[in-house]
Structure formats: C-alpha cells, structure tokens
Amino acid sequence: MTEATADERLVRRSLSRGLLARPELGSVVGALAVLLFFSFAADSFLQASSLGTVLYASSTIGIMAVPVALLMIGGEFDLSAGVMVTTSALVSSMFSYQMTANVWVGVGVSLLVTLAIGFFNGFVLTRTKLPSFIITLGTFLMLTGLNLGFTKLISGTVSTKSISDMEGFDSARAVFASHLTIGSVDLQITIVWWLALVAVATWVLLRTRAGNWVFAVGGGAEAARAVGVPVARTKIGLYMAVALCAWISGQHLLLSFDVVQSGEGVGNELLYIIAAVIGGCLMTGGYGSAIGSAVGAFIFGMTSKGIVYAQWNPDWFKFFLGAMLLLATLLNHWVRKRAEAAA
C-alpha cells in the first residue's frame, strides 16, 4: 500500500520533471508567444494558406537546423552549411547537364560530393584540433569561390542551365520539390522531410549509442575519449550529417526552380545556428535537442513571414526579426531557469 503510493509519486514526479527538464520547453513557450502575437497583429496570418507558407519557410531552415543542432550538441559549429546547400545543388545540376545524364545520376553524384565536403570538414577538424570556427570558415569561403568559379567556367554564366526537360526530372522533383494540396492549403514536401529528419534525429539522440556519444563529445571530448567514445568518428559523422541535409536542401532548391544561382546561400548558416540556439542548444555543446531546433525554425518562419502579413515597413524588418529572436531566446532562458528551480 505504502509502496504503491510511493511508486505513483515517483512516476508522476519523474514525468513532470522530465518535461520541465526538456531543452525545448522554453522555445515552445516562445513559439506560442510569437504565434499569439502575430494572430493579433496580422489579419491574414491565421489563414490556412498562410500557414502553408509559414511552414514552408520554417522547413527550409528547419531541415538544416536539425543536423546543425546535433553538431552543436557535439560541441562544434559549421559555418559552411549555408553555401554547401548551393554547392550541392550546383553539382547536381551541372553534372546532369554537362554529361547529358539522367537527373538522378546528378543527384547521386551530388550526394557523394557533398558527403565528401562534410567528411573533409570533420577530418581536418579532428586531425588538426583547430577550432571548428576557423576550419569551417575556410571551407565556407572556399566553397563560395568554387561555386562561382566553376559555374562561370562550365556554364559561361553565373547560373546553371535549366534541366527541367531532362529524363528523371519529374520523378526527382516528386521526391524533393513536390507539394500536396489539402483543401486550400499548399503543403510543400520539404515539410515532410523536415518532420522525418526531426523524428530520426530525436530517436538517434535519445535511444541509440551514437546519440550518447554525441552528448558525450559535446560535454567534454577528453572525458569522452577516456571512457571509450570514438570522438573523431562521432565528429566526422556529425559533419557528414550536416552534409546529408545540405544535399536534401540543395536538391530541393534545384528541383523547385530548375536552375541554381551560384552566389546564393551566404548567410544562411547563421539562420541554422540561430534556430538551434532558440531551440535550446547551448553554444558550448553537450545540451540541446532536435525537436528544439524544429521549434526554433518554426519561430523563425513565423517571424519572417508574420512581419510581411502584418504589413510592417520592411525597412525595419531585420530589427523586428532580431528583437523577436532575442525575446524568444530570453523567454526560453527564463522558462528553463524556472523549470530547473522547480525541479
């Protein structure tokens, strides 16, 4: 009898404590606040069609925010993530076009090239032990130059040639850039990719040994190595995960617009990091979640499109964006403090 009551209490407390200790709790509250705010500030914000647009904007950031969050939990940054998306799209498009190959061949080659770049980042990092900031900054600049240089060398202009009339384009587009219409809502397939990636990443983080390794290397690489965690392999794996998602985003970019502009993607890497941080990832590593990164991306999507729906003067756009992000993060921080104190 007494034992049973004790058990019940134990279960209830661990549940509530488990919920409060989740890294994404603060960001969920922040997301609700942003949602409420724009519901009142913008008339057309709560329409179903607007929701589709907001979710699409969130998903394009969110797909990359997932691996970037994992990488940050593992204690590293990737500043090359933004242009890597463009690189991946360029490789795919130019290979298919120049070789007159099936679009899927280009998509496959692009996967290999992008994974190789991710491997390069991870390999150089673990070999040289230099800060990831420096190494990926180098990759970022090199990729920016290569994107433009190769595109002009091969295509003669700064954008690639259209591949929309090539074999395999339609099936590839169905996978990476299709959309389904439910009623008046237009849902892009990237939303499905995004949610699937969040689910997989959450499962890996919380239910597998690899997930434990990620938390361990982010918490303290030396200690992790001492207890037998393969630190180098884990970090290289994380960079390759970023590359994999850059490939998915890149193929979406290419297949939804047929052509790719070589100069794009610069600056997006910061958006991914912002989404991960709002979602509860610590800048120092060892703490965070994939779901949090999704909520962070959703806050970003709501803010960036909400400002348009609210018909605010776009000159102030960046200010509103920054203020919103800061407020969301502060709220996140405050809620987490409260939660920690309560637990």
Binding site: A57, T157, V158, S159, F257, D258, G263, N268, K305, P314
Partner: protein
C-alpha cells in the same frame, strides 16, 4: 536620522530635476526662436513636407482602396530601390492604392515573399525577375489566384512567357550597347567594366552589351560591392597596373565616386562613366569628374508599374502592345546634369 535624510534627499533631487527641466526648456525655447527667426522660405524639410501634403490631399480617383504589393530582389538599403519605391508610392497616393513593399536578395526568399503577398489576397503584384526561374512557379500561382502581375526592372525576356501583363524596365543589353556607342563617340580605346555584384545576370548583360558595341577593348573587373574600400583598392590596382585603360564604367551610381577616388590615387587619366544616377553622380557630371551616366529612370519603373495596375483594374488597359515598356537607357551628360540635380537631391531621379 536615516529616516529624515531620505525624504530630504528626495526633495532635493526633485528640486534639482525641476531646475534642470527649466534650463532645458529655456534652451529649447531659445533654439525654437532662433529657428523661427532664421527660417528659410524655400526648400528644406518643410518644402518637402508641403509637397507630400499636397500629394496626399490631392485624391482624385474614386476607385476603392486596392492593395498592391511589390516584391524585389534588392538587398537592404539600396538607393536605387528607394527611388523605385518613391515612384510607386507617388502613384499609389494618386490612385488611392495601399502600397506594400518587401524584398530579399535570395531568390527562394523572394519567391516566399510573393507567396505571402498572394496569401494576403492583394489586388495586384509587382515583381522583379532578376532570377526568373525561381519566380516562375509563384508568378503562375498569382495568376491562378486572379492577381494581375507586372514585372519591373529585370526579366524583360521572361515577363510575357510567365503571363505578366507587361514589363517596365530597361533592356540591359541595349543599355550596355548605348554605353559602348557613347564611349566610341568620346574617342575611348580601352574600357574597364566594374561589376560589383557577382552573380547578377543583368550586370553581365550590361558589360556584354558594352563589349558588343564598343570598338575598343573591354576588360571586366569583379569587385565586392558591399565593401567600398575593397572596391576602391581593386580599381586602383587595375588602373595603376594597366595605364592604357582610358575609361572606367561602373554599374551602379554609388561606385562612380569610388572610381573617381581610385583614379586620382592611381594617377590615371581615365574617364569615369556610370550606369544609373544619384545626387552624387549629378554633382560629378556638372563638375566634370564624371563623363556621362546612363539612367534607366527607376522612379518611372515604380510609378508606371503601380499606375498600370490601376489602369488595368479600372479600365482593363495595357501598355506596350505585348512588348516591354522601356524606361531607358537615357544618356545624361554635363549639359543635362544641372537641370537634373534638384530631382536627384529629393530622391526621384
């Protein structure tokens, strides 16, 4: 002791605040008096406000308040797009239109902004097609939603195929050719085309146009347009290393002044010419530091786009006969510069 001191201190601080307020008030009154006494009856902010008031009150159309959204590929804080917006706003005031503006230099973001405008059920859309393929799907969507679309500035070739009512802008190749001819007339032999935005198709077309029409040689120089010192040092290095360059063509008005500085530093005798116009360029033309400018009249692009949408909604009118409505190129030299200066200063040329 403590209890008595606290309110005393409080009283003292209130008194000192009052004193300070009175002093501030006196200074402000003096400043106001000085302003009133030294009032200028012409120009200045007041003249600008009067003009705005007149524009705002002079409502003549009886159509309902339609909403028109303009979505451009501009980066943040670009003078050129300010002028386009000024034109659009002026037309919006005249036509009783609620004018919305948004912009992103990333093509996928620009497409999302157009989608957001469609979600808001705007009555008309104005878009730029600097990266046409990215905009194709979303422009088609706008048409399916029954929203008339006008393209401006870039995308003269794609506009019709995408189903836009018309295109208002300058043909970049023709503009480049106009520059090439002007350089020939001025007896130049070796020109340098300065591209400040890597990846802009319109810029490539301009320099290609110059190359086509010009009988001398043309070199392209890529510079980082967001970093002015870098632009200057790049042009300077090129001019210092190649003395045969006798003309520098910049593709944006803000870069002309930088090119002049670079030329002086390098001790080169090259003539600086530029695409687009602003107050500084007009000044440069009249004092002779610049040779000529090619204007594409951005004010007209914004104004005409809004006005044409109004005409379409009101009267199903269209302009251009299925061809782009050209707003340029217009070669501006020293002779025209003085007349244009007042307009560039108020941000409409």
């Amino acid at each position: 002791m403590d209890g008595r001191q606290v309110p005393e201190e409080g009283k003292e601080s209130v008194a000192s605040v009052e004193r300070r307020l009175r002093a501030v008030g006196a200074i402000m009154a003096a400043a106001l008096a000085a302003t009133a006494a030294g009032c200028s009856s012409t120009g200045g902010l007041r003249a600008e406000e009067r003009a705005k008031q007149a524009a705002a009150n002079g409502k003549v159309v009886t159509t309902p308040r339609w909403t028109v959204a303009m979505v451009t590929h501009s980066g943040a804080g670009d003078t050129f797009w300010d002028i386009v917006q000024n034109g659009a706003k002026q037309a919006a005031v005249k036509d009783n239109i609620n004018f919305l503006y948004s912009n992103s230099d990333q093509s996928d973001q620009q497409a999302q902004l157009v989608q957001a405008a469609i979600d808001q059920h705007v009555d008309g859309l104005i878009v730029t097609l600097a990266k046409p393929d990215a905009m194709k799907a979303v422009v088609a969507k706008a048409e399916r939603a029954g929203i008339p679309v006008i393209t401006i500035n870039s995308g003269a070739e794609e506009s019709k195929a995408f189903g836009a009512l018309t295109h208002v802008g300058q043909d970049e190749t023709i503009a480049g050719q106009a520059v090439g001819d002007a350089l020939d007339q001025r007896g130049r032999k070796h020109a340098l085309c300065v591209l400040h935005e890597q990846g802009n198709v319109g810029h490539e077309q301009r320099c290609a146009g110059v190359k086509q029409a010009f009988h001398g040689t043309v070199d392209n120089l890529y510079v980082n347009g967001t970093n002015m010192p870098d632009v200057q040092s790049a042009i300077q290095a090129k001019l210092a290393s190649d003395k045969s360059v006798d003309a520098v063509v910049t593709l944006g008005a803000p870069f002309a002044a930088t090119a002049v500085k670079a030329k002086q530093q390098a001790g080169s005798g090259a003539e600086i010419d530029t695409f687009d116009l602003n107050a500084q360029v007009a000044q440069g033309l009249s004092d002779g530091s610049l040779g000529f400018a090619v204007d594409q009249q951005p004010y007209l692009q914004g104004y005409e786009a809004v006005d044409l949408l109004w005409l379409y909604k009101y009267n199903r009118d269209g302009l251009g006969g299925g061809k782009p409505v050209l707003t340029g190129p217009q070669i501006v030299t020293k002779d025209d510069a003085d007349a244009l200066r007042q307009y560039t200063q108020r941000g409409t040329r």
